[in-house]
């Protein structure tokens, strides 16, 4: 398993600003993922963040809006840029370990006014 922490746990931001979310894992992992979960909805994959390479974005998500860093095997950041109310959501970091099991962080609840 893996223990994942995220900062901040929640934030309220003004439209047009940016927020960087941090994800820290207690062990080295190759694959890290960022998800978005809108209220009462399922999980939508934003991107896969692999150390030493550019993040791979899913359809509908672009690097200019959601830049991701992955400086080492235990840490990643997701930035939500030029925010609008439509970006209000829970952002989840997850990691893949072992034979492919995914473990999730506690999430960052973002509200954009």
């Amino acid at each position: 398993s893996a223990v994942i922490s995220q900062k901040p746990s929640r934030d309220i931001c003004q439209r047009g600003t940016s927020l960087t979310i941090q994800c820290q894992v207690d062990s080295q992992v190759t694959m890290m993922f960022w998800y978005r979960q809108q209220p009462g909805q399922s999980l939508t994959l934003i991107a896969t963040a692999n150390q030493g390479s550019e993040a791979t974005y899913e359809s509908g998500f672009v690097i200019d809006k959601f830049p991701i860093s992955r400086p080492n095997l235990t840490f990643s950041t997701l930035t939500v840029s030029n925010m609008s109310p439509e970006d209000s959501s829970i952002y989840l970091c997850s990691v893949g370990v072992g034979d492919g099991e995914q473990f999730f962080g506690p999430g960052t609840r973002l509200t954009v006014l």
């Binding site: 694959m31 999980l43 989840l92 492919g100 999730f104 506690p106 999430g107």
Partner: protein, 111 residues
């Protein structure tokens, strides 16, 4: 196109009853089927998972039933408790770490 269909969207059960959540998939390449439990304000947590070489897996009060020919799998929660009240997501994965999630089922267990 939703590749994993989950039902029901919401479920209300009395304490001690059986909760049943169903999922169906389309992609025959899927070979790993996890269930996640999510409490409000928390991230999803892996609850139980199954691979298609078995038809059933049980862990405590939680059982996954798997029907490969029908491409369906279900979660049964026996003796449901108020503490089981949460959102449950089924998922399916094949060949990578990235699962496809169902839409989720909000379970409420009344005392």
């Amino acid at each position: 196109q939703q590749q994993v269909k989950q039902s029901p969207q919401s479920l209300i059960v009395q304490k001690g009853g059986i909760s049943i959540i169903n999922c169906a998939y389309e992609n025959t390449a899927f070979d790993y089927f996890p269930w996640y439990q999510q409490f409000p304000g928390k991230g999803p947590a892996l609850l139980i998972a199954i691979r298609p070489d078995v038809s059933e897996k049980k862990e405590g009060r939680f059982t996954i039933s798997f029907n490969k020919s029908a491409k369906q799998f279900s979660l049964h929660i026996m003796d449901s408790q108020p503490g089981d009240s949460a959102t449950y997501f089924c998922a399916a994965r094949g060949g990578s770490y990235i699962p496809t999630f169902g839409r989720g089922t909000s379970l409420i267990v009344h005392p």
